[in-house]
Each structure stands twice: as C-alpha cells, then as structure tokens.
Amino acid sequence: MLFGIEWDTANDWVFAWSILPILMRGLVVTVQATLLGFVVGAILGLVLAALKGARLRVISWPAAVLTEFLRDTPLLVQLFFLYYVLPEYGLVLPAFLTGALALGVQYSAYMSEVYRAGLESISHGQTEAARALDMAPLRTFAVIILPQAIPRIIPALGNYLVSIMKDVPVLSVVSILELLNVARIIGDRTFNYMVPLTMVGIIYLILTLIASAGIRYLDDRLPRHGIPLR
C-alpha cells in the first residue's frame, strides 16, 4: 500500500492497472517539479544573461564564471549543495522546493545562453538602422530586437523544459516522491520492478511526445520574422 491505495498483484495487467493511481500521484510531483524548475530557471537565466551583458567587467565576469560552473557540474552537485549546505546557513527548505530550486539553478545557466544567443542572432543591421533613425537604445531593444528574438528564444526554452522533465528523477536522492521514485518503491515492496518501471517509461515517452508536439506547434505559430507590431 502506498498513499493509502492498495494494489493487486494477481497478474501483471491487473497489477499495472492497480498501481496507475499511485503513479499518477508521482506524476503530479514530477510535473510540479518540472514547471517550478522551469520558471525558476527562466527567471534566473534572465538575470544571469542581464548580468553577463553588463558593461562593467566587475559584474559580467563573475556572472560568466558562475554560468560556466553551473554548466560544467552535474545536477546532483547543485542538488546536494542546496540540500546539505543551505541549512548550515540557516535556510531550511522543504525537500521539494530544494529540488525545484536545484533544477532551476542548473538550467538557468543554459537558459541564459539561450537568451544571449537569441538576442545576438538578430542581425546588427537592425540595431544600426534603429541608430540611424536616432532611436533610443532602450526602445530599440524593446521594440526592434526583442520581438524578433522571442520566436527564436521560446522554442529553445521549450527544449529545455523537456530536459528538465527528464532530470526530475535525480531529485529522488533527496526523497522527493516523483514518478520514478514511486515506481521504485512499488518495486521494492512487491519485487515486481518490471511493471512499474515499464509504465514509467511509457508515461515519460507520452509526456515527451506531447511536450515536443506542443513546442513544434508554438514554433509554427510564432512568426518567423518576429512578433508583428500593429
């Protein structure tokens, strides 16, 4: 029994059906961790990108070093850091939030690169034309560059959403009851690992296919040349 739900190990198919509600509980945690991690990563990534683009070396250089560190170390390192080291400084978060934070921190590095690359991919001729028309730099960024960068940035961010989802099982090491962790516990209790793990695989496959289809739809709908203005 898990989450107050009993299962039936009569045969594999009955077993599979009976553990489906339990796996759904784990799926909810997985989806929540994915979305929260994505939002944290997207926001932190924006902050990082802004810092890296700063004119003062004293701001941009540490940001660049931090990005490199986050990209070159495993997610588990960030997770353990937040889980074991933060409490020593008085910050004790529930395991779930620590896990989502770790995902966000890890992926903020990649997402900051998405922002930077997206903005830099806009041809310099655009900035030059805006300057020739004596447009203020802030307006140039908001009205000329950003609407053209968004259709390039969003699909790339969407790909990282899928990556985050596939990294959520890592969070099981700090006892977060995400989908894979739940499946493993069922296996531990019943000695039947094949059924729950196969189901997890299938569920992940379905989720990834849905997410990828969603990203492709978004990619098609976003205008190639930028968000049209009036």
Binding site: S123, G125, Q126, E128, A129, A130, R131, A132, L133, D134, M135, A136, R139, V143, I144, P147, Q148, P223, R224, H225, G226, I227, P228, L229, R230
Partner: protein, 268 residues
C-alpha cells in the same frame, strides 16, 4: 531640408560646408582605414565616393551616421562638431545626448536595406518620426504617405518587408530615412545587394531625389554610369585617403593619377 543658400554660389560653398572632416583617423585594431582624411561637402552638393573594398568609403558614411567612432580628427556638420562638443569653449568627446541631437541631421540607406521585418511598410516609416521626433500618429502617417508616394510604394502600406522585392524594400528604406527630415542623406552601396533588374528603380528614386530636393547627398556606389549622371563631384578613395576628386567629366574622362586610372579601367 530647407535650402537657405544657393549651393552653386562659390562664396557660400567655400564659407559654410555642410560636412567638414579634418584630419580624421579611423583605425580598426592594427588596420588604419582612414588616414588623416580631409573631406568637405558643400550644402546641397551631390557627391559620389568610389573606390575598391577596404578603401574606407563605407567607413566615411558610417562615421558620419555615428555608427563608428573616430580615433583622431574633428568632424563638423553644418558648423557643429559631430563627435565632439563644446565645453567651456574647448572640444571634448561628445556625450550620447549630443550624438542623439546631431544624428537627426543625417539619414542613411544601407546596402542590406535593414527594414524592420516585424513591422509593416507604413509602420517602418512612421516608427521613428512618432517616437523620436514626437509627431502625432496622424502627422506621422501623413508624412509617411508623402515619402512612400515619392518612392512609389503607396500600394504596399500594409505589407511586410518579406513580401517585397529587394528594390521595393530599398525604396521603403529610402522613404524611412527621408521621413526623419535629415539635411544629409547617406547611401551606402544602395543597389549592391539587388538583382540587376531591380537596380534601376532604386537609382531612379535617388536621381529624382537629387533633382527635386536640396538635400546634401553622399553616395557610395559601383554604378559608374549613374555616378556620372547624378554627381556634382566624384571622389576616388584608396587606402583611406582621397586620391583624386573632381566633376564626373574630369574624373571619368581625364583621371590624373595613375591609381585612379587603374581603378577605372578595372571597373568600366
């Protein structure tokens, strides 16, 4: 774009140049692109700059449009310093505020058009007059109509640049630059990126502009035949200096310097 002095009056030309570049040096890293350049353009004069790649001709235009800084020298636009400003009677490097004021005197048309692809033709032309010059929406649209009509693009107001041919895009780009009412128009190889059959429509617009308006116009081009018809003066640039300059008749039919002769032989 008002014309206050007769441009063909020699006294006016001599005393009050529209563009005055004094000993301008521009370096990109180790490469000196402009070498103590002295260059002058009179009010309302139409000047064509010719030369091979790397001669510095595009750099001159880009510096005037404040897209590039200068390493040494001073530039005056209508008597006012461009990359410098006066503080207590002395020249100091220009602040961004000064540059933003000076930039309004120049308009530029680029080889790659550089229209804003996410805006309609109309919005491309009204954007800066509305938000930089502060024109009301109605005034900006009326002004846009005037210049889009001049370049023959009134049937395409709601189209996006991707729906236009290169020649059409460049004509819109010309209207966009004109809508800011600059005193100087800079054309940086405006037809070099166009298919040959589209070149004519853009050159026609430029010629009509030169005949019907008193703008000071600087044109960098490889279209020698057009340069001959369009220009008051042709300047041949090489390695960052003006090798030779004169009327089209003087430069094209009787070039004095050997380098000029070599260049003209290779392009014509």
């Amino acid at each position: 774009m008002q014309e206050m002095n007769n441009p063909s009056d020699p006294a006016t030309q001599a005393s009050n140049p529209m563009i005055l570049m004094e000993k301008v040096v521009k370096r990109f890293g180790d490469v000196t692109v402009l070498d103590a350049l002295d260059f002058e353009v009179a009010r309302g004069e139409k000047v064509t700059i010719i030369g091979s790649s790397g001669s510095g001709k595009s750099t001159v235009l880009r510096i005037l449009m404040t897209l590039e800084t200068i390493n040494e020298g001073v530039i005056y636009i209508d008597g006012k310093p461009l990359w410098h400003e006066y503080r207590d009677g002395r020249l100091i490097p220009a602040s961004e505020a000064h540059l933003r004021t000076m930039r309004k005197e120049m308009g530029m048309v680029f080889q790659q058009f550089n229209l804003f692809p996410h805006m309609t033709v109309l919005r491309n032309v009204t954007e800066s007059p509305m938000h930089v010059l502060g024109l009301s929406r109605q005034k900006a649209i009326r002004r846009a109509h005037k210049y889009l009509d001049l370049v023959g693009m009134m049937d395409h107001l709601d189209k996006f640049p991707s729906q236009l041919s290169g020649g059409q895009q460049q004509r819109v780009a010309i209207a966009r630059a004109l809508a800011m009412h600059p005193n100087i128009m800079l054309f940086d190889e405006p037809t070099s990126a166009l298919d040959p059959e589209l070149v004519g429509e853009v050159l026609t617009v430029i010629r009509r502009l030169s005949e019907e308006h008193d703008l000071t116009m600087l044109l960098v081009t490889h279209e020698m035949e057009f340069a001959r018809q369009f220009s008051d003066r042709v300047c041949f640039f090489d390695k960052g200096v003006i090798v030779e300059q004169g009327t089209p008749e003087e430069l094209f039919t009787a070039p004095q310097k050997e380098r000029t002769q070599q260049f003209l032989k290779s392009v014509m």
